[in-house]
């Protein structure tokens, strides 16, 4: 089999082939071949495989998810080299555990795989970071932590990314979070105005590190003494 299966669509499609992609059924489409390979390789760590609207979902035990994604990334028969998204799902049904979701894409094989790990109820919301496999996981995991409060073990810089860092009201996308936040409007406004967005960032993050030599001497002195640019 060729590594690339070219699907002709639209005007470039040969006669007889529909111009649009085929209709997918809700369940019962063929699974991504990576799912079977994962079951052979990892056995019981792969809890369940579902195919929904033609997309394969693999449920993985949370303790092995790092190994699974590492293998998917490295193995020459898988080559999932693109991490599209890291997110989480909390269901309204309190019995259903929170799921962490990874969207993986294999550009050489044109495959898409959705890996899910269910964090059992009552356990701390912690899971291994995949930052050492995909650098793209940096901000994605920070967002997931910001919105859901899931801590990624091994992430180099796990802090809020969408809300400001001193945000105290909790994790907005959790189901127990009220839509308007926990504090009153005036308290929210007071805390928001009290944030100092410039105080946190290092020279590298302010991207003046490259221009350090061109800075005036007094500014270099002040930066060397640890002075921040904010008030």
């Amino acid at each position: 089999m060729s590594r690339f299966e070219v699907v002709h669509t639209g005007a470039s499609a040969p006669a007889g082939q529909p111009a649009t992609l085929k209709r997918l059924s809700h369940r019962g489409e063929a699974a991504n071949p990576s799912a079977q390979a994962l079951q052979q390789k990892f056995g019981d760590a792969i809890k369940r495989v579902e195919v929904i609207w033609g997309e394969t979902v693999v449920y993985v035990h949370p303790s092995t998810v790092h190994d699974v994604i590492r293998w998917l990334h490295d193995d020459s028969s898988q080559l999932y080299d693109f991490l599209s998204d890291v997110t989480a799902v909390e269901y309204r049904d309190a019995e259903v555990p929170i799921e962490v979701v990874w969207h993986l894409r294999s550009l050489p094989f044109r495959r898409f795989l959705r890996v899910k790990a269910q964090i059992p109820k009552g356990q701390p919301l912690e899971i291994d970071s995949v930052y050492d496999i995909y650098r793209a996981a940096d901000w994605l995991e920070r967002e997931c932590y910001d919105m859901f409060g899931i801590r990624f073990r091994g992430h180099p810089d796990l802090r809020r990314i969408l809300m400001w860092e001193q945000y105290k009201e909790g994790f907005p996308l959790r189901k127990d979070f009220p839509l308007r936040g926990r504090f009153s409007r005036s308290e929210q406004l007071r805390q928001a105005l009290a944030q100092n967005p410039e105080a946190r960032y290092s020279m590298e993050e302010l991207s003046i590190a490259d221009a350090y030599a061109e800075l005036p001497q007094d500014m270099r002195d002040r930066l060397n003494t640890g002075e921040r640019t904010g008030e």
């Binding site: 309204r92 309190a94 969408l162 809300m163 400001w164 009201e169 907005p172 189901k175 127990d176 979070f177 009220p178 839509l179 308007r180 936040g181 009153s184 409007r185 005036s186 308290e187 929210q188 406004l189 007071r190 805390q191 928001a192 105005l193 009290a194 944030q195 100092n196 967005p197």
Partner: protein, 208 residues
């Protein structure tokens, strides 16, 4: 509500012959004429209102007709802050700092429903009206307002500028948000302004 201004800060109606001499009032007229016709806007565009604002500045509607041909992307050379779009809480200190960086005399326009009231974004992340952060001279309603609406708001602001008087120091005072100042909105009023209304009352249910 505690928002009514005291007498000395009220905008004084323009009745020159009654209060001051001819030269002083003519000087006011010249200064205000120059200011009103050379307002340089500081565009603070965060959302779809900014698209309408760009359309207003472009050739079809041509904001340059009203002396606003130069967008001042530096607040230090700006006269009027046009906040076009929703302002999340994370931007609140930034818009306040931009306002503080602008030199006097300065005015501000709150463009669109989100900047004026929070609009449909009645949630944890969006400021319910920028008048809880900075003083606002003209509110332009709409979601987003058409360019004609923004131009009407700018014309209203020009009318306001033309009716200002140099002798009335109250309009140009830098008023910090301390309880004795006229710009201070007490927390109870902010909470009252942020109260849910309409269909959005039902959104407080968290589902659990």
């Amino acid at each position: 509500m505690g928002l009514s201004a005291s007498g000395e800060h009220r905008t004084v109606s323009y009745a020159p012959e009654a209060q001051e001499g001819w030269i002083a009032t003519r000087l006011d007229f010249v200064v205000n004429w120059a200011r009103a016709n050379s307002l340089w806007p500081m565009p603070f565009g965060t959302a779809c209102c900014a698209i309408e604002f760009m359309a207003t500045a472009a050739s079809d509607f041509d904001l340059a007709r009203f002396g606003m041909e130069r967008m001042s992307f530096s607040p230090r050379q700006a006269d009027v802050l046009i906040c076009a779009g929703r302002v999340p809480f994370k931007l609140a200190p930034i818009i306040r700092r931009i306002w503080q960086q602008m030199p006097q005399p300065k005015w501000s326009i709150s463009m669109g429903a989100c900047a004026s009231t929070g609009g449909m974004f009645d949630n944890y992340a969006v400021v319910q009206g920028i008048d809880t952060i900075i003083p606002v001279d003209v509110y332009v309603p709409g979601c987003p307002p058409r360019p004609e609406g923004l131009i009407y708001g700018i014309r209203m602001l020009q009318e306001k500028v033309k009716n200002e008087r140099a002798a009335d120091k109250g309009t140009r005072d830098e008023m910090e948000p301390d309880p004795t100042s006229q710009l201070y909105i007490p927390p109870s009023v902010i909470d009252e302004l942020g109260e849910p209304f309409g269909n959005s009352v039902n959104q407080t249910r968290s589902g659990l």
